[in-house]
């Protein structure tokens, strides 16, 4: 039902391009603050007074009252913006169908039909407007950098309008955060010299959308580093950053598809493959033994999920590895089929670890030609390729000796039926740090999505429900601890405590008492299976010749030698 709503909604949204701001639906009165107040007050939380959720209420539509009020009280300003954006699009009709023509990438993009079709989309067509979620990246000078659909050239005046909005609000010493129209939420995020904009009809909360924009920003940083981006724009305000991102659109496209389909991003936690702890330990030991100076992380991945991760001792004492950095690495691995051809050696920045310096990533599949098991080794030494490749050889040898690849191939995601709780269809469980595993990577566990959520559309519908529950739990104006939500085709229960965050999905006929009883059982089961479901104690090794707490300082030396190259490009 939620899904249907969206599509219907988008169809309405398209009409907006004419000046058809006809009538606000009746019976939805709200605070009517002036346009700027609503759009720009950075900290002003909207419509708190209308937030009247019974946390444990019975029947209720999938769209909470919170959404309804937002949509309508701000429709005027929203329509205004959407109309403006639509007008800008019409002006571009002439260049609408032209593909991108940046000299460096025309040939590169031709080869992949899927990629080409997104890029060549006619931005004046209805189908373009009906995309569920648009993402745009532009520079402060209003230069287009990235668009999820359609070519940036064709969208340059649309992005110009976006920049105009940003600077207009900025001139009043304020920051534009979001614009709501009946069907769309427009979220703005400014990071350094970059402006990121999301136009979404997905009904996600502003906060979730902003989080997704942040992932896009981090992915860009992971390729270029924050320091070099600021330096570039300091030297030349109207620099065309697409020169440097050419060929990386696919990585950003891939990220946005993952963000839509993988709850790891929503939960800001890493999903690891369930594995008998003995097997996981043996894999960790293999990684622990294959080391070389300046190696900082060894990561083993299968089916795009973590098998194990081993970390350098002193580095990890300094700082922890953030789930977002791991997500970016996994996306990088997934986005390039070229990885399957050989061994990869590439500079990569982990933005949350240190946004200004590069690691050097060695990436290789261990089971060609299937290419499901991937080894990722991160070093701080750009010259270390041969030494790191040698580590891979040792790892490969040890894995052959222990028959690890065959054991890994047998590993499956688990089924919710293993929990043995009737009516429970799916869940996501994210434990929080407890003192004894502080420094640990935030993880979550979740069974495979099975019928009735086996097709893409239904999966998305369940994820949308989870996103809705998540937005209620994490609402800035009125956070909730427990929600029992009866939707049309299922019942959901979300619960957050100081120890965990849990989202569960039950069949629609479950009773409240039943659901609560089921959750008790589920928690007991997770406790029992903990060793299999999570990487409990990420193992460590020591590779720095002189262990000291200055590992960060040491790395910053390398930063200079690697990213000053960009300046020569200006």
């Amino acid at each position: 039902m939620e899904r249907d709503n969206h599509q219907e909604g988008e169809a309405d949204g398209v009409k907006i391009c004419g000046p058809t701001s006809d009538g606000n639906p009746p019976g939805k009165s709200c605070q009517r603050s002036p346009y700027l107040d609503q759009v720009t007050r950075p900290e002003a939380e909207k419509t708190e007074n209308f937030e009247c959720q019974n946390s444990v209420s019975g029947q209720q539509s999938t769209r909470g009252p919170e959404d309804a009020t937002h949509d309508n009280d701000q429709s005027d300003s929203g329509e205004f913006v959407v109309t403006m954006l639509a007008k800008a699009k019409l002006e571009e009709q002439g260049i609408g169908v032209e593909g991108r023509s940046s000299p460096l990438l025309e040939a590169g993009t031709l080869e992949s039909p899927a990629l080409a079709s997104h890029r060549d989309e006619d931005v004046t067509a209805d189908s373009w407007r009906q995309h569920r979620k648009h993402v745009f990246v532009l520079s402060e000078a209003g230069k287009p950098i990235y668009s999820r659909y359609g070519s940036e050239e064709a969208l340059s005046s649309t992005m110009g309008v976006m920049m105009a909005l940003v600077s207009f609000v900025q001139s009043g010493d304020n920051i534009i955060r979001s614009v709501y129209s009946e069907e769309h939420t427009v979220v703005f995020l400014q990071k350094g010299p970059l402006v990121l904009v999301c136009v979404s009809s997905s009904r996600q909360s502003e906060r979730q959308l902003r989080g997704e924009l942040l992932y896009v920003y981090y992915q860009i940083i992971s390729m270029l580093t924050q320091a070099s981006i600021s330096r570039i724009f300091e030297h030349k305000k109207n620099y065309d950053l697409r020169r440097l991102l050419a060929g990386s659109e696919k990585i950003l496209d891939g990220l946005l598809n993952l963000v839509d389909s993988d709850p790891s991003f929503l939960l800001a936690a890493v999903h690891c493959l369930p594995l008998a702890s003995s097997l996981r330990d043996s894999l960790s030991q293999i990684l622990q033994k294959a080391i070389t100076p300046n190696l900082v992380f060894s990561i083993l991945i299968a089916k795009n999920q973590l098998l194990t991760i081993v970390q350098e001792k002193t580095v990890i004492e300094d700082t922890r590895l953030e789930p977002a950095d791991v997500h970016l690495l996994l996306n990088l691995i997934g986005a390039s089929s070229a990885f399957q051809a050989g061994e990869i050696w590439t500079p990569i920045c982990l933005p949350l670890f240190n946004p200004d310096c590069y690691f050097y990533a060695y990436i290789s599949y261990l089971d060609p030609p299937e290419c499901t098991v991937c080894l990722l080794l991160l070093s701080t030494d750009k010259e270390a390729f041969y030494a790191v490749a040698e580590c891979k050889r040792k790892i490969e040898e040890a894995m052959v000796a222990q028959n690890s690849l065959n054991l890994i191939a047998k590993v499956q995601p688990y089924s919710v039926s293993q929990v043995g709780v009737s009516d429970l269809r799916h869940f996501m469980y994210k434990p929080f740090d407890v003192p004894d595993n502080f420094r640990q990577l935030t993880q979550f566990t979740s069974p495979e999505m099975e019928a009735p959520y086996s097709n893409e559309e239904e999966k998305m519908r369940l994820l949308d429900l989870y996103r809705y529950m998540h937005s209620r739990i994490h609402s800035t104006s009125r956070p909730l601890k427990l929600i029992y939500h009866v939707a049309e085709r299922e019942t959901l229960l979300a619960w957050v405590t100081s120890k965990f965050e849990l989202y569960t999905c039950f069949s629609p006929l479950v009773t409240k008492a039943c659901a609560i009883n089921a959750i008790t059982k589920l928690l007991r089961w997770i406790k029992k299976e903990e060793d299999r479901l999570f990487i409990r104690y990420p193992p460590k090794y020591s590779t720095t010749p002189n262990p000291s707490k200055t590992s960060r300082g040491g790395k910053s030396d390398q930063q200079d030698s690697t990213d000053n190259g960009f300046l020569s490009l200006l």
């Binding site: 440097l244 050989g342 050696w345």
Partner: protein
Amino acid sequence: MGEQLPSVPGRAQLHSDTLNRPVQTLRVKMVLLGSSGVGKSSLALRFVKNEFRSTSPTIGCAYLTRVVHLSNVSLRFEIWDTAGQEKFHSVTPLYYRGAHAVLLVYDISKRKTFVRAQLWLRELEKHYIPGSTVIWLVGNKEDLAQNRQVSVQEGERLASDRGLFFMETSALSGDQISELLLAVAHRVYECLGTQQGGLSEWEEYPFIDLHHRDTSNPFSSCCKVGP
């Protein structure tokens, strides 16, 4: 070719008593340079697997190997397939430093890539010592001859002006691919193989060997062009 009884040059005779290796195997570092989308990865894939697949833009650099047997020696090509994207240009010297062979690739149907190849060449000339690196100018996508923007003569002229070797190939059809690799192999061996310190020997078990190398610069060990 492997069947021919090799006339083993001096150094290799030391190893000829190890059963598996009647011929000497030398390491050749070969780098593919050129604009994004000219087909560097496709060439590399042809060299290594003789396959053609449409590829995504390379990230950083892909490392592949292929052994080529000449009549009296085997060359183990360590192929560095670099990313053509500009964001990686600052790190590209890392990959081409100390290369024995460089393939400078352009797309015959895109003049821009030919111009770009000349920029690469200028960049390269800052770093290499003549006689230590064999450079080939490679006009790829010969199958797109009907959209040709760079004539064969132009390619040849540039090559002869700058002392490069020249060939046109098609990674798509596989045309001239093995010829190119073989020609490079012969030329590299001719120019560098007999030189003192020209090519280093490939150790089947580079375990200990590498261990020593780790302490020094791993790149300088296989080549005479230092940083």
